[in-house]
């Protein structure tokens, strides 16, 4: 582990290259453009392909095309582009094409606040595309963690054959800080398994023991069909309700089965916490300071920080709801994850929001004030 001064978006580039990303397609958008510029420089040096596409839909499409040809691929964008990508995120989830999508969140909706941070895309990341689909969303809170979770994003994407979204805000993307990057050996690099069965026996959408069939590279000798239509094991379109039900169940089950590997979080001062802050990304950094300040003032606060936003660590939050008097969700939006926490709490503890959507990061003082308010019983639920 070596310490370097690194920008969040640069750490993403480094993580992608180290994880084996060899294809990037993107479209310029603030505040993610440094990723694209970095990839344009770095990829050719490692034999990778870079292309700037005509829009974000095309970018994710090109990434998935390249992925089917055997190259680990990534695109990066921000809110408006992320909205445009939604159809293809659904396509990737349904057709089970590994790829990584970085969304550096800025203020929205619409063009919003291009240069200011936000955490307004967390629900869109989960539910943005139509239809039911599982998805993996990772939320780093530091430059070093951007590196780490970028590598993890590729690894999970390859292992579970699914798009993985790396979701962080403008502050994390643009901050330059001293970063101690974990060694690649400690993270590991997952390579996509290739089928070794006879070509005629290959079932690209079969239900293996691990719920994920190996994905053959186009051009490797296995010929098969990929479609966004509901499909059978061979990838052929079907309208058979039993086959379609089995497909949906398998797609959800593969992430459910892998939950222990996928879901990652951190806790601080939780053992005796009477009020637990749930925060992710840049908000968790302010929350950490608020916790220590609260403790100094005699308020037993703790921090629960999901590093995996989706699938949400619901069981863990439920445990906290049973032990704490109240939960406070600090996030830079008008209330998104707070509802998920409320769902997980199942009425065991009241859930309060500490919300802000004006383009300014939450401050430790704001969060501390909210903690004090909550303990005094003056806060409105969820607000």
């Amino acid at each position: 582990m070596t310490a370097t001064l690194l920008q969040g978006n640069q750490a993403c580039v480094r993580g992608a290259i180290d994880a084996g990303c060899r294809f990037f397609a993107g479209y310029p958008i603030t505040p993610s453009s440094e990723i694209m510029e970095g990839m344009a420089t770095m990829l050719p040096r490692v034999g990778g392909v870079f292309i700037q596409m005509e829009d974000e839909m095309a970018s994710l499409a090109a990434v998935m095309g390249a992925s089917l040809a055997g190259r680990k691929g990534m695109t990066a964008t921000s809110g408006p582009g992320f909205s445009l990508m939604q159809e293809h995120i659904g396509y990737g989830a349904f057709a089970e094409i590994p790829c990584v999508i970085v969304d550096v969140m800025r203020g929205g909706p619409s063009t919003g606040l291009p240069t200011s941070p936000s955490q307004g895309d967390v629900m869109q990341a989960r539910w943005g595309t139509h239809g039911d689909h599982p998805i993996i969303v990772l939320a780093p809170a530091s430059v070093a963690e951007v590196y780490e979770l970028t590598v993890r994003a590729f690894n999970l994407s390859e292992r579970y054959r699914t798009p993985v979204i790396l979701l962080y805000d403008e502050v994390i993307g643009h901050v330059r800080e001293r970063a101690e990057l974990p060694s690649l050996e400690s993270l590991g690099v997952v390579e996509r398994p290739q089928p070794n069965c006879p070509t005629e026996a290959y079932r690209p959408y079969g239900d293996g023991a691990q719920r994920v069939a190996p994905l053959a590279d186009f051009g490797s000798g296995y010929r098969y069909h990929v479609t966004g239509l509901a499909h059978d094991e061979r990838g052929y379109p079907t309208q058979d309700p039993r086959v379609i039900a089995r497909l949906h169940e398998r797609l959800h089950a593969k992430l459910q089965d892998g939950r222990a590997e996928i879901v990652s979080y951190e806790g601080e001062e939780l053992d005796d916490a009477e009020v637990v802050i749930v925060a992710y990304g840049v908000s968790a950094r302010a929350a950490r300071r608020a916790v220590s300040e609260a403790r100094r003032q005699g308020l037993r606060a703790g921090l629960f920080r999901p590093r995996t936003l989706w699938p949400f660590p619901d069981a863990e939050v439920n445990v906290l709801a049973r032990s704490a008097r109240a939960l406070v969700v600090a996030e830079m939006n008008m209330g998104q994850i707070v509802y998920e926490v409320e769902r997980c709490a199942r009425g065991q503890a009241p859930v309060f929001g500490c919300l802000r959507a004006d383009g300014q990061p939450l401050t430790p003082d704001e969060i501390l004030a909210r903690l004090v308010e909550v303990r005094a019983g003056e806060a409105e639920v969820s607000r």
Binding site: M57, G65, A66, F218, G219, V226
Partner: protein
Amino acid sequence: MNTAARADYRRYLRLDMMPHILCPGCGHGIVLQAMLRAIWRLGLPQDQVAVVGGIGCSSRMVGYVDFCTLHTTHGRALPFATGLKLARPELTVLAIVGDGDGLAIGGNHLIHAARRNIDVTCLLLNNAIYGMTGGQVAPTTPTEMVSATTPGGALEPSFDSCKLLEAAGASFVARGLSSAPIDLEALIVQGIQHQGFSFLEVLSDCPTYYGRYNRLGEGPEMLQAQRRHVDWVAAPLADKAFVPGFADTAAVADVALQYGVLHRETRPELSEQVHRLIAASVGEGPT
């Protein structure tokens, strides 16, 4: 290159998927067969052919051919194809798109693929209407023609996709007819052989909607009308009411709907350039 008269194209069909879902008399199947004959004639290794489709009747056909096939989203076949070709340049990549698919929702992708001159062969099947969704007006529906969304006749003019693509930079532009399948096969052969973006507009027929709404008859009548109305390059048209892309019969009395190879030039191809850059860059600078 296979020179025998008879092309063994049935080897490329996914027999367990046949028959295909297209309507009786739909010209698309004729185009698909011509494409398969072209692939056979070129002797392309089956594993090294990728066929990408968007959404619509035409794109649906990619599911019936035994290559690496990718049925994507509406309008986006070409970006997928671009990623595929850049990632694995040794693949022969074909894209089958429809007129609405390629020119409306995917119009931006189409012109940019042409501009990039990426080595993809794009067949745009023009039946002058949205078939899969029930016969709505397309960017290729001639003015005054009836569709589900232009019950009183279309007001807007239509695209001449070949002119559009030539202007956008496609280095090979051709127009073929489903009613001239042997010529069409030869055009597709040339399109695949061409290094760079090859665009072929293929006039096809939708008897179910376009033919019915406009009283143009069934498959045979529409096919015969194609032959009557369209001739080789520079032949003038007497009556273009039927021909997609040529609406105003008065205005185009001296304009020919041309078919055959309309434009060809040699220009640097993108995937080759990208990989040349990579070859020159590998190992350079800090990684």
